[in-house]
């Protein structure tokens, strides 16, 4: 029982991270039917944004109040990246065949990874370490350090932070989508962009908002990842992005609740598979196999995902 509870906690932690990133895939897809494969890199840049903020302003300190400032730094870095990416790379391709933005996304993804790898230590006016190796992520009192035990289950403080972030973001997101002017406009655009335009909605602006919203959550996930792993590198966006995309599809692409549920389910399944699949196919080496096997099974029996894709059928 204890191992089960333990793996459940591990799974929910991992799943919260996936969920935070998955929302970005799903929101953008819901609005423009575009899979932004560079979203993983937006997450990675969030982590680097937090790290840079720390190195510039707080080097050597560990107090908790630094964390919100780091999160703000992360959000600024990610949102700026996503918004520029939309403006420069995706907007000119609006109306182009779907393959074009998809390939562009892969290009941006490679560009951003290499950019961070090659130039992070060369940013003028700073003396950041080279991103060619792993860079230690700052330790922050209260959210890193010794784990505590509750009822036989070991819980990392960073895990609590991650799960807490997901809960808070999900609540804010729900509120934003369902209770604000901008949220209503987003729903309208996702259901019928042409009609939304004829209601006076600035569709281009809503698309930017969707990118920015996803980027902000990815940035928070980036901070959480840094705190959990204690170090970051330029490649973290690739695997995390792939898993989060899987989570988004699993939950039903375009469906925000689906992204959250998909993320959590994926995390938990991975953790349980690591523990309970016996013999040669068990252990953490195989967890990705089980994650993608789950995706395939779900898509075979429920192609629209667990909670149902939300894409408007347009004639």
């Amino acid at each position: 029982m204890d191992t089960f509870a333990q793996q459940l906690v591990n799974g929910l932690t991992l799943g919260s991270l996936y969920a935070l990133i998955a929302v970005g895939y799903t929101v953008v897809y819901g609005i423009v039917q575009l899979i932004n494969f560079a979203h993983g890199e937006v997450f990675m840049i969030g982590a680097f944004g937090a790290l840079s903020t720390y190195l510039l302003l707080f080097q050597g300190q560990t107090s908790l109040w630094i964390l919100p400032v780091m999160i703000i730094g992360a959000v600024i870095a990610s949102v700026a990246t996503a918004v520029i990416m939309e403006r420069v790379a995706y907007r000119p391709l609006r109306g182009a065949p779907r393959l074009a933005p998809l390939i562009t996304a892969i290009g941006i993804s490679v560009f951003l990874q290499e950019f961070v790898r090659l130039f992070y230590d060369k940013i003028p006016g700073t003396n950041f370490p080279s991103a060619k190796q792993r860079i230690p992520f700052p330790r922050i009192e209260g959210v890193t350090g010794t784990a505590f035990e509750a009822g036989g289950v070991v819980v990392q403080k960073s895990a609590l932070f991650t799960i807490g972030c997901l809960i808070m973001c999900a609540a804010l997101l729900w509120y934003f989508i369902n209770r604000t002017k901008l949220g209503h406009a987003m729903q309208a655009v996702s259901q019928d962009p042409d009609t939304a335009r004829l209601m006076g909605i600035n569709v281009d602006r809503i698309i930017v908002v969707a990118f920015a919203l996803g980027a902000a959550l990815a940035a928070i996930a980036g901070v959480a990842q840094g705190l959990q792993n204690a170090n970051i590198n330029f490649k973290i966006g690739f695997t995390a992005g792939l898993k989060a995309f899987t989570a988004a599809v699993l939950g039903g692409i375009g469906n925000i609740q689906g992204a959250v549920v998909g993320g959590l389910v994926l995390g938990v399944v991975e953790a349980l598979a690591t523990q309970y699949v016996p013999g040669q196919f068990g252990g953490s080496a195989w967890k990705d196999v089980w994650a993608f096997a789950l995706l395939i099974i779900v898509l075979v029996f429920r192609p629209q995902g667990l909670l149902g894709a939300k894409v408007v059928d347009r004639a």
Partner: protein
Amino acid sequence: MSTAATAPQRTAPAIGAPVVEARGVVMRFGGLVAVNNVDLTVHEGEIVGLIGPNGAGKTTFFNCLTGMYKPTEGQVTLSGETLPPKPRRVVTAGMARTFQNIRLFSNMTSLENVMVGRYCRTSAGPLTSILRGPKYKREEAATRERAQELLDFVGLGDKAEHLSRNLPYGDQRRLEIARALATDPKVILLDEPTAGMNPQETRQASDLIFRIRDMGIAVVVIEHDMRFIFNLCDRVLCLVRGETLIEGSPAEVQSDPRVIEAYIGGGTDDEEEQA
């Protein structure tokens, strides 16, 4: 512009300045000329009917008026100003419409649909809307209130919280009208507002359109139901194969043999399109 046309009808308020003026509008799709050199002037306080057999180009003409299509030739002005190039600017300039095939935001409630229509008249930006500044709160409350008023106006006051996709067909049409009215238009374009309605609902729709006109909004309405059109409109334009066949008072149009011919016999050229 005689209003003493047919059957009992409310007297129209004095006809005012032109709101919409379309001059020589041509819309080509490849080789097909869907709208050919059509002129139309709509004045304040006027209800103008647009009739014609299937495929005559009525909806296409509406699309040209609302900036959804850019006419191949000709020009459209709204209150004397050239139509802005972007559809959303056309809305803020004062032109609203409904659709032949209903296009509501189906996963939103009636009230939310109307509120979305209203947003182009509110000014709170993205940041204040997230941070809920006092201005945003005031505006949001006003938007909600106005949306509810409009639902009451079209007779859907008690269905504010229903998802729009669950509404009966007739209600969906009225909801589209409420959503269009929420944008505070000077002129509203209705594309077959009574399609699929029963006679009683059609009468209510007539009444609703008169009330809209009485609010000082010019109305252009496409319909196939001739009784409805001739009873409602101050002026009727009949399109056939993209061209103006006749424009005049309901009495004039009604009695013109070519109109009847276009609907009954003359439309044979369009038969593939009707099928």
